[in-house]
Symmetry: C2
Subunit: 134 residues, 2 copies
DNA sequence: ATTCATGCAAAGCTTTTGCATACAC
DNA sequence: GTGTATGCAAAAGCTTTGCATGAAT
């Protein structure tokens, strides 16, 4: 992740490194405000956190998610995929949804709508949390 | 829409009626702040607009959409469906979702993830705007 | 008569911006 | 040395809330 930034010609600053390392440790949805709060004692300003998240999103390493108050990000390193968000443990499970997408594109074509981007997210319970609840 | 509110036992107040009528005239994404601004001269307060949108969403007559700054609603009167949002004219085109739905269920079952809700939106150009651009 | 919705203004929360300083290249 | 990123604080958005008033049932 750091390497990718460097390779893209971005400056490798300490704050950026701190942010990226904190993100890597995260398994669930990333809340910018909470992250700022966590990183502030380490000398990283709020604005820098927001700016870095923005940067990573532009490079496609992060995606915005819209569940739970509409203000989060999640890691997004592999190819194109979507996310299952567990509402109990907060975990984010990447999922290949090509079947769903194909269906959509078929519909769009039928309606002569040119689809540029799309958003597809699921919320529910992961396998582990289903067991706990039962 | 008004009838549905009344049938649900909600009070039929003038501000609510004004909001609902304004919504019906809308073909695109509804921006709460802009709507408040429009309706303020007619004596409807900001808070009432937000509260009414919230109310309508709870009854499923409105859905939140997440494109363009992540803060909008769109009309949602028919059965279950999704939306194609035209980024040029702002129009919202509903799309029947039964095929997509089946795909989603299949996927969830395969992953043993219990899907409670999902978000699926598309942004692009509607047929009319594609022609204009060309 | 009661209860619920309203408008206003203020507060809350999240995100962005201006600017001088410090750091990476 | 130059140009960009940073931290801070302030500003800007958007949404919610407290409260007294007014309207609907």
């Amino acid at each position: 992740m750091l390497r990718r930034l460097a390779d893209s010609g971005e400056r490798m600053t300490e704050p950026r490194e701190i942010v990226v390392r904190a993100l890597s440790a995260e398994t669930g949805v990333i809340n910018p405000e909470a992250l700022s709060y966590d990183l502030h004692p380490r000398g990283v300003g709020r604005a820098t956190v927001y700016r870095t998240l923005d940067l990573l999103e532009r490079y496609g390493m992060l995606t915005r998610v819209h569940v739970e108050g509409c203000h989060g990000y999640t890691l997004c390193d592999e190819g194109h995929h979507h996310h299952l968000l567990c509402s109990a443990c907060g975990r984010v499970v990447p999922v290949d949804a090509t079947g769903v997408e194909a269906e959509i594109l078929r519909l769009a074509e039928q309606l002569k709508f040119r689809v540029d981007t799309h958003t597809l997210e699921f919320a529910g319970l992961c396998q582990a949390c289903q067991k706990k609840t039962r």
